[in-house]
Each structure stands twice: as C-alpha cells, then as structure tokens.
C-alpha cells in the first residue's frame, strides 16, 4: 500500500541562502554527501526558534497538525546535528511546500487577486490595469462573499432530506438531522 499523501505545508518566507558549508582544515578533505534540509524543516526551525512560537502556534501557521509539526521540527534538528558532527554541508531544498501569496484588491473593478510570484511586485490590476490597488487581508470576509450565489445543496443518501449548503469548507462533515447519516453534495444538472 502506498503511504498516505502528505498535505502541503505553508512556508511564509523562503530561506535567503541555498545552504551552509563547513570550513577548516578537515572540511575539504572528505567528500561527503550534503545533508538535505527540506524547506518545511527550515520553516519549522524558523518559526519555533527564531520567531519563538510554540509548536501549536507554529503548526497552525504551516497548516499542519501539532504532532506533524513536532515531527518536522525533530527531523530538522536531527539533520542539523548530523551535519555539525560529521562536518557535512547543508543544502536547503525540496519538500512538500507551497509559498503563501499576497492578496490585493483593485478599487476600480472591485476584484481581488493574488501575486503568485513573490519576486515580482504587482503594480497594476491584472484585470483592468488600473494602479489603484491595495493590500488585502484575506481573513473572515471570504466566508460570506460569493457563497450566496451558489446553488449547491446537500442531500442525504438514505432518506433524501435536502439542505442548502451553508459553509463550503465543511460539506462532507455535515450529518442529516433526520437519520444522522453523512450528507452528500447534490448533483446539479440545470446547466
């Protein structure tokens, strides 16, 4: 059986450098494989020991559970320790991560958009091209916006009870109020 798929970990700020090299007389003599520190392990170390957050807070930032965060952090410490003791290089690359993107709002056409490329700064709205854009904090407003127009309904597979979908994110955890079985999204054929 294949292992369970890892969920994507959110990385807020990617590392400035690609890795570390040891120096000293012995460092160049042995050609050892570098230790591969993953992006998520770097981020775990940064949140936990540089930003001084506890594992619970840091796990929420990275979008993983607290035990998973602790495992990532433990693996980071173990890799760094082995690099220090054995005098190996550290290369920071790879990992199952995504980089969080910034969100903007355009005042002209009232659209929201994100910047998927962190290196480039966005100055104009990608839709209407106006420069009246401002940073937009994506928090609670997304929960209500746009959802009112959705015609999705939930249907109970056992008794056929129908209910409008209230919160899109949790549709597969809602139970039928009549027969207590888990409800499914109703198929829509009207278009």
């Amino acid at each position: 059986m294949s292992p369970r798929k890892k969920i994507l970990r959110k990385v807020l700020s990617p590392p400035l450098i690609k890795g570390f090299k040891p120096y000293g007389r012995e460092s160049g003599k042995r050609n050892l494989e570098p230790v591969n520190l993953l992006y998520e392990e770097y981020e775990a170390l940064r949140l936990s020991d540089y930003d001084i957050l506890n594992h619970h807070q840091a796990s929420e930032i990275m979008g993983v559970s607290r035990p998973t965060f602790t495992r990532i952090y433990a693996s980071a410490l173990q890799k760094i320790a082995s690099a220090f003791v054995e005098g190996r290089q550290i290369s920071i690359e790879g990992g199952k991560v995504y980089f969080d993107s910034d969100w903007y709002q355009c005042d002209q056409c009232l659209c929201n958009f994100n910047n998927p490329e962190r290196e480039k700064e966005i100055k104009n709205c990608p839709l209407c091209g106006s420069n009246q854009i401002k940073r937009y904090n994506f928090g609670s407003p997304t929960k209500n916006s746009g959802k009112n127009n959705c015609i999705d309904t939930l249907v109970c597979p056992d008794c056929g009870f129908e209910q409008a979908l209230v919160n899109e994110g949790v549709y597969n955890e809602q139970v039928c109020p009549k027969c207590k079985s888990i409800m499914k999204r109703k198929k829509i054929y009207n278009c």
């Binding site: 994507l8 959110k10 991560v97 910047n115 278009c191």
Partner: protein, 108 residues
C-alpha cells in the same frame, strides 16, 4: 498568455460562474492571438475533488490566470504552488464578453 474564466454557459453573453471547480464551462482566452475557447467542465457533477481535478485541467492547458467568483479552500494552495494567479470577481452579473473587453483594453 492564456486566461481562464469560469462561465455558466457556452456563449459570450453568459454570466461568470461564481464557482470554480463546478462551473459549467471554462472560457480560455488567449491574449496573443485573441482566440476564445469554450471547454465544458468534466468535473461539473463530481461529488468530490472537483476543484483539484479542475486545477489539473487548467495546468494541462498552461493557463496563467484564472478569473472566477470564488476559489475553494483546498485549491488555493495547489494554485499557489503552480504559480497560477487567481482573480476573484465578486459581481455575478458580469458577462464573459465584458471581461474579455476589459482584458483587451489592458495592454499586455
């Protein structure tokens, strides 16, 4: 550059679909040769994983921007890692031809 717009119908007069994963049609507009393609969404009636299947469809067509009414929680991270820009347009009455007109005015 290719831009995808979620649409409720297969004509230029149809309004934008507020959903991304389960929209009826994807309109793919090429800003270079000004071609407009309508693709019926194969994941329209999917019970689950409609969003991620639609993201894969978009990635296979080399789309760089997606305009839709709303994006689901799960696919925001997928689109971020694929470096596809999301544009959320909150007005459900906007027609496809209006959006293409605005895109034409913007110089790319």
């Amino acid at each position: 550059m290719k831009i995808a717009i979620s649409s409720t119908g297969n004509s230029l007069d149809s309004p934008i679909d507020p959903r991304f994963g389960r929209c009826c049609y994807f309109v793919i507009y090429d800003t270079e040769d000004k071609t407009i393609d309508f693709i019926p969404n194969p994941n329209k009636n999917a019970e689950e994983k409609a969003g991620s299947a639609s993201v894969q469809l978009m990635a296979s067509k080399a789309i760089s921007k997606i305009i839709s009414g709303e994006f689901g929680l799960k696919i925001k991270s997928n689109l971020d890692s694929l470096k596809i820009q999301m544009i959320i347009l909150k007005e459900p009455e906007t027609k496809i031809k209006d959006i293409i007109e605005i895109l034409n005015k913007t110089n790319y």
